[in-house]
Symmetry: C2
Subunit: 418 residues, 2 copies
């Protein structure tokens, strides 16, 4: 059968899928994997191994899992371990609690599409505590396969054109995490980039937001503002004042806020603090406190780095009830996210407490990971800035450094000639 | 903030999400859950508990998990168990093998977006063995969060309109599993229903397929034929002759075949056998053997019933390489499916073999589940057919019975008057 005999061809394939790009797993990674295979086959090169830094994949880089999480997962997977293995009592109690909320006491049963009830309750308690008592409603928390799935679910809500046949525009930072650009193109939404302010530690500059927003209106009905804080791939942690400014900007132009806060535990500077969009928005009072906001979190980053378990959630705040009902209906067609990923999320939002048997080990493991990440953040900052022609902002948070490479004038001149 | 102040409203919400329906988790289930909560609160009713039969959720209905699967999951979750717990040696070896293919030897690392290499290899071996030696290529197998995610990924490829502004039409059975209708509407594809032949044990009647196809062309550019075999929710197992006829029909009209074969292990009649679309198509020789086909499988059904683990895959057969590359790119934006779901899938496609330490227990557990499902299939068939005004086909496979209710003439007359 020749190409022309195929039913599905490049000529009639979903054009958005053709158009979408996904750099994180693009040509660079494919080439890296090919090189790795060559090395494994014994082909000699001037180096012995490939370090893939294309994605925040902590365990692949040697980070060790948190024992409490893994012991709970082992117990819910094989409940006979609850009585037979020498695990701490809080591990066993957690496993029993989680199983008591599973259909047939089994992680093999589907959960409610929103996620297991007790886990949503624990997430709401975690958020309330994080935000100094600002309440969180378990009914407005939806668990998902990593934060990625939640982000995509929320973006899908905006697929629609206005009376002038304009797509809805979604504002995302440049540099960005390519999940956003890939999903926006796949869904046929309008990609509106705004530049982060490199000279101001990658803060969001309101003039730049205004500029990007206004220019986008020629093409799009821009309705969504995505902010990644702490920044991926830029490593900044937004100040409370900056978050306030952003919220006022979103209010002024009626933009729906998406806060990608999956690095909320990854802060490496003493004088920087994570301020959730929800806590700042709520503390600003009306009308800001009533704004629509979705905040995303994950068990893939932080100190646990459990990417492969695919645990994550979105908190949906101030969204019209009927819209929320449709969101729930849509996600329910995928039945539910992985129960083991949900259980991991539970351990993240409700870790062992002081006095509980697992607490000391948990704290030690968590601290070791965060100290190591902090040390690496400083090392990479110093290394980059010690190199000729390379400058880099300090890495205040997240897991990335984004250096500036100054091209020598001679190279620029030569490129121009060519 | 009143409704009109919301940014996202029913007026500008993605209209496909508004239009989609998902009966499995629709009003009936919501009411059932409300009744269940009332019972739990002690409110008296004429019954004591609610049995939710809206979805094939085996463990929730009391089915026990297969020990081999759960022991492997426990070991990969907490590798210290490999040396400390009294598990059979094949469990420990499997866990070690799987971990050796994980980044950093951890299930917390992302895998290749297609899935872990060794698991794709095991799946290909399973398919080859199932299909009496017809080869399967691990490069064309993509793991996913249950079969649902794979089905949705493949359907997305067809989102596009033709020169006459017609959506691509997707033919699905009536009665169907509502994932299909929900996803087709969400993706803005054309829903083309064909009626299964109730009087012939829910077989696919080619005249009916012809009729549905031809009628659909007024509205859609129909390019896809979905077949669910064994049938959900109708419980039939298609004969080899019927599968051949369907393949010839698809060839005649250039339809891309989707074979939902997640119940391939659930056959309850001695004289019925599962014939995969791939094996029949390949055995028919050219031109049929070159047709495009996607076949789906899952760890949610069969004898294991591990719905909550979200393991599944698609085998993509004879699809144009460039189209396949775009499919891989698209799925890579979601990074990877749950590693523990992938590991469960590995245990399903490569169970313990005779002579291995876990074999006897595995066989006993598997046989017990399948015998119980077979017994229930017969019981429900007999029960329905013993009731006045209800008829039901025998349940040859899958997990469902779909009865016909004959309305009494008096009721029909009264309804007409009203």
């Amino acid at each position: 059968m020749t190409s022309s005999n195929h039913i599905l061809t490049l000529e009639n394939l979903n054009p958005n899928i053709i158009a979408m790009e996904y750099a994180v797993r693009g040509p660079l990674v494919i080439r890296a994997m090919a090189i790795e295979k060559e090395l494994n086959k014994g082909i000699k090169k001037s180096f012995n191994n490939v370090i893939k830094a294309n994605i925040g994949d902590a365990h692949a880089m040697g980070q060790k899992p948190i024992s409490f999480i893994r012991q709970v997962l082992a117990c819910v997977s094989d409940p006979s371990l609850i009585n037979s293995v020498n695990y701490p009592s809080d591990v066993k109690q957690r496993a029993e609690l989680l199983l008591s909320y599973c259909g047939g006491h089994s992680i093999g049963a589907y959960s409610h599409s929103n996620g297991i009830e007790i886990i949503r309750k624990h997430i709401a308690e975690y958020i309330t505590h994080r935000d100094n008592g600002i309440p969180s409603d378990p009914q407005h928390i939806l668990l998902s396969a990593g934060a990625s799935e939640s982000i995509r679910n929320i973006l899908k809500l905006f697929i629609d054109k206005d009376g002038r046949n304009r797509k809805k525009g979604v504002m995302i930072p440049i540099p960005q995490y390519p999940l956003y650009s890939a999903s926006i193109v796949e869904f046929g939404l309008g990609l509106v980039g705004y530049y982060l302010d490199e000279s101001n530690n990658w803060a969001l500059n309101i003039d730049e937001l205004e500029h990007a927003y206004k220019e986008s209106l020629n093409q799009f009905n821009t309705r969504v503002l995505c902010v990644i804080n702490p920044g991926n791939p830029t490593g900044q942690v937004l100040s409370k004042d900056n978050v306030e400014e952003i919220i006022k900007f979103a209010y002024k132009y009626k933009l729906f806020l998406l806060a990608d806060e999956v690095y909320q535990d990854n802060i490496y500077e003493e004088n920087r603090k994570f301020h959730s969009f929800k806590s700042v928005m709520k503390s600003m009072g009306e009308p800001y406190s009533q704004m629509e906001l979705c905040s995303f979190h994950s068990c893939s980053k932080g100190y646990m780095g459990e990417c492969g378990l695919r645990g994550g959630y979105v908190e949906v705040i101030n969204v019209e009830q009927e819209v929320f009902n449709h969101l729930q209906k849509m996600t329910s067609a995928k039945l539910c996210s992985t129960i083991l990923g949900q259980c991991a999320m539970d351990c993240v939002v409700k870790p062992p407490q002081p006095g509980e048997p697992s607490y000391e080990q948990w704290l030690q493991e968590k601290t070791a990971v965060l100290n190591s990440l902090q040390e690496r953040a400083r090392t990479i900052y110093n290394a980059y800035n010690s190199m000729d022609g390379i400058e880099c902002n300090p890495v205040h948070g997240a897991m990335y450094a984004f250096p500036r490479i100054k091209m020598p004038q001679k190279a620029i001149d030569k490129a121009k000639v060519k």
